[in-house]
């Protein structure tokens, strides 16, 4: 590791921008959270726009009977002609009667419900009492005026922390919604090191939710969980700081931090990780051939930008020109920032038109951006990677390291495959 480029972005000045943001709101998190929590229903209390967003971001109707929906506010709810709380109770009663398989209900606040100050905490409390013990009702905000994209997951998990049972046990808690296959890999690695029991937030079902207490130590698997982290610290739990488990290096450093906390002997750590590390290195190396020395530009999207830039720079040899992120949580990203080779621009927030000017001026080899920007940039001749795939695809830990690099290599390989004449026509 000493051969890798020297890092140090922790004290880099940050370009803070304020303007039009081309980012989803926190409601989008429902799309992966409802797959993760298999007995949960997410009821957005909002407008037709919220319903349309979920439908559009999810792709039209992937799931036959989704476990999410929108209680659409109507004129009479706003004009005070109807008591919104009563209306909400009625819709929830109807929903739960139709879906007896639902054990957890989340009332999800939206921009309109926040603006009219509809008290969903009160509603959740009342409905919890009404439907206990079969259904637990919690609330969080996924509104665009308060949350950006992945912050919706943060808000959801943070809402769960205060109601987790108390435990005096010294237990490891993994925090962040990972695809089941990835979560199982992480648990298997930790088990092989003799670390047990390991709890996970969020659990797949209500019955499996972890307990937390002063002897809980937790490791984040996602960098956007700032509020959840705060809530866990308030419960007395302690965080294991580490770079995020992306790529071979990130995964190893993350596992080592956990292993050190639990006193795992070095030789055991080595024997557990050696084979998957070698596999990950080999898989990444295959993709890195395409990525090496290519320039990279991140538009802010999922808050995964800093750890991903670290991975792409150090393990794939890419050269980041700008790393933009919606929020830069130094407390959480410190270990990744330390490793990230100095980048010309580290930006927080967004003024999309100005940022597009910078991207066009620098013409990066690869631009990571949202779906609204991808095709227009492709038409201008810039290769892009849709950022949303990074949160929908299994990308964490060793076995996915090659896939993660592949997500970035594919647009470049594709561009090389298509004949230049065709590419020119697409750009008109």
């Amino acid at each position: 590791m000493s051969a890798l480029p020297a890092g140090g972005c922790r004290d880099l000045p940050v370009l803070r921008e304020r303007g039009q943001r081309e980012v989803f709101c926190g409601l989008t998190g429902i799309i992966w959270l409802h797959r993760k929590m298999q007995d949960a229903f997410f009821l957005v209390v909002g407008s037709r726009t919220c319903a349309h967003l979920l439908q559009s971001a999810a792709g039209v109707m992937i799931f036959a009977e989704p476990r999410f929906g929108t209680a659409i506010l109507e004129e009479k709810d706003l004009a005070g002609l109807a008591d919104a709380q009563t209306e909400l109770d009625r819709e929830v009663d109807r929903l739960l009667a139709r879906r007896p398989d639902i054990r957890q209900l989340f009332l999800v606040g939206s921009c309109p419900s926040e603006v009219i100050k509809l008290d969903l905490a009160k509603a959740a409390e009342r409905q919890s009492a009404r439907h206990a013990p079969h259904v637990r009702v919690l609330n969080f905000s996924g509104s665009g005026i308060e949350t950006t994209f992945t912050q919706g997951e943060d808000a959801c998990l943070a809402a769960m922390v205060p109601v987790l049972p108390q435990t005096p046990a010294r237990e490891l808690l993994l925090v962040g919604a990972l695809p089941d296959v990835v979560e199982d890999q992480a648990l298997a690695l930790l088990a092989a090191m003799g670390i047990a029991p390991v709890r996970v937030l969020p659990a797949r079902r209500l019955g499996g939710m972890p307990a937390v207490g002063a002897h809980t130590v937790f490791a984040l698997t996602q960098p956007f969980l700032a509020d959840t982290r705060e809530a866990l610290l308030r419960r007395g739990a302690r965080q294991i700081a580490a770079p995020f488990p992306f790529g071979e290096e990130g995964t190893t450093l993350w596992l080592r931090a956990v292993a050190d906390e639990f006193g795992v002997p070095a030789d055991l750590f080595e024997s557990v990780t050696a084979a998957p590390r070698a596999r990950a290195r080999k898989a990444v190396a295959a993709q890195a051939e395409t990525l090496r020395d290519r320039t990279l530009f991140f538009f802010p999207d999922s808050q995964l930008e800093v750890p991903l830039a670290r991975f792409l720079a150090r393990e794939c040899g890419m050269r980041p020109l700008e790393v933009g992120t919606p929020y830069l949580h130094r407390d959480i990203l410190g270990p990744d920032l330390d490793l990230l080779p100095q980048v010309p621009v580290l930006s927080e927030g967004q003024d999309v038109d100005r940022q597009l000017d910078r991207a066009r001026a620098q013409r990066p080899d690869l631009t990571v951006c949202g779906l609204g920007l991808a095709n227009p940039l492709e038409a201008e001749g810039l290769a892009t990677k849709w950022a949303i795939e990074l949160v929908f695809t299994p990308v964490h830990f060793y076995e996915q390291a090659g896939d993660l690099a592949g997500l970035f290599a594919r647009p470049l390989r594709r561009r090389a495959l298509l004949s230049p004449a065709t590419a020119l026509e697409a750009a008109e």
Binding site: G19, Q20, R21, E22, V23, F24, C25, G26, T28, L43, S47, R48, T49, A51, H52, L53, Q55, S56, A57, V60, M61, F63, A64, E65, P66, G69, T70, A71, I72, L73, E74, E75, L78, A84, E87, L88, R90, R94, L95, R98, R99, C111, P112, E114, V115, I116, G144, I145, E146, T148, D353, G370, L371, G372, L373, A374, N375, P376, A379, A426
Partner: protein, 530 residues
Amino acid sequence: MKLTVWTYEGPPHVGAMRVATAMEGLHYVLHAPQGDTYADLLFTMIERRSKRPPVSYTTFQARDLGGDTANLFRTAAQDACDRFRPEAVIVGASCTAELIQDNPGGLAEALGLPVPVIALDLPSYQRKENFGADETFLQIVRHLARPMARTARVSCNILGPTALGFRHRDDLVEITALLEEMGIDVNVTAPMGARPGDIARIGAAHFNVLLYPETAESAARHCETAFGQPYTRTIPIGVGATRAFIAEVAALAGTALRPDEARLRQPWWAASVDSTYLTGKRVFLFGDATHVIAAARIARDEIGFEVCGMGCYNREQARALRATAKAFGVEPLITDDYLEVEAAIAALQPELILGTQMERHIGKRLGIPCAVISAPVHVQDFPARHSPQMGFEGANVIFDTWVHPLVMGLEEHLLHMFRDDFEFHDAAGPSHHGGHAPRPLSDAPGALPPDTQDISEQKMPAATAADRPDAAAPAADSIVWLSDAERELKKIPFFVRGKARRNTESFASGKGLNEISIDTLYEAKAHYAR
């Protein structure tokens, strides 16, 4: 408050975006929080547009609410004008901004922008996407178009095509060519491709061609009143409707020229014998009212289907749909609740659904084939090839599109003969759709009303006592084919002979027969035929 799982229409400001994105030189300043920018991807991903929609979102946050959201709007409007140099600006609020009552119209007016500012009032909590498009286009026309002298040659405007419209791109090509063949100039096409300056000269046309009442009826009415321009009522979808449209246009234009029908293949395709199998197939129609009304006539009069139900999700056009439903003797279903539509389809059990992408999914769940005839759109509804719904080519396209989900003529004929064969049965699905056999309902995810399941049971290959081998019946391998029956069997085309043999044996086995005669063979055929 109403629980919604999937929606047919977006909010009204998305309708305004469809108009703005279709036009050139127009910019939309939308007072909205950050999440509302999702709407950009509808255009850049679903429609594969190579440019961002011309929309600036003010992106206010919770911390701005107590402070100065109005100032954010002013800055965004000024910046948009400076950067994009539009010829006109439309301003409005999304659902959240409507609640904070900043009055974007008034704010933009006070800025003294160097271009016309058109304020939109789109009530987000009452109306939807189509209203938003229709109202936005009306306001643009009201603000920019002025009465003026008619063009010397006879001309018309084409009103209605927008961004994200169902096949608007291709319909426009078709209808423009048709008008050209009739010797009629197109003065302005709007919103699609029009600049604010083009809107200003709408009044020069002799009449208007209204392609989509959903998005441009109000503007067409306004032009009728303000400029004395009549507009066409016929929507040229289908052979009969296209001919009626040509007659209507010819009367308005006073022209005797008629377009060439040589490229129209649909009538012969429908008349040719392979299409016999389409006769009386029961179809259910759902979508926007305009497309459903047109589709109903095509289904009945041009393809020979039986329309067993129809409905639309847009109340604005419900009256016309009700009238059509009455003429067809079916109950109209006016709803934007997709669960209601699903229940109606499940109860009617049509053989084909002509609907939207939502009904396509309903069809997948219920194992009923579906062709898409209307918005809301999906990436599939923007094919690379020319694929109009309107005009003569549109009629050809519609024939292919509707027939494609069904089994082919000869194939269906064979299925009727051997309906319970293990690999050659109804539930195996059309052979040109590999690997898409509908699952039995009991395996489908999600809860369905019990009556649905009952009906679908009937649709599955009937398992009668005669079909089911049981212990008392002779096993198939102990059954003897008499020599004349064996000879008769050999007369059956080779590619179905094995199936005929198995079906006959299975029939004989069910009846407890040990020998198969010619009579047994034909009794079996009669048994399996419908």
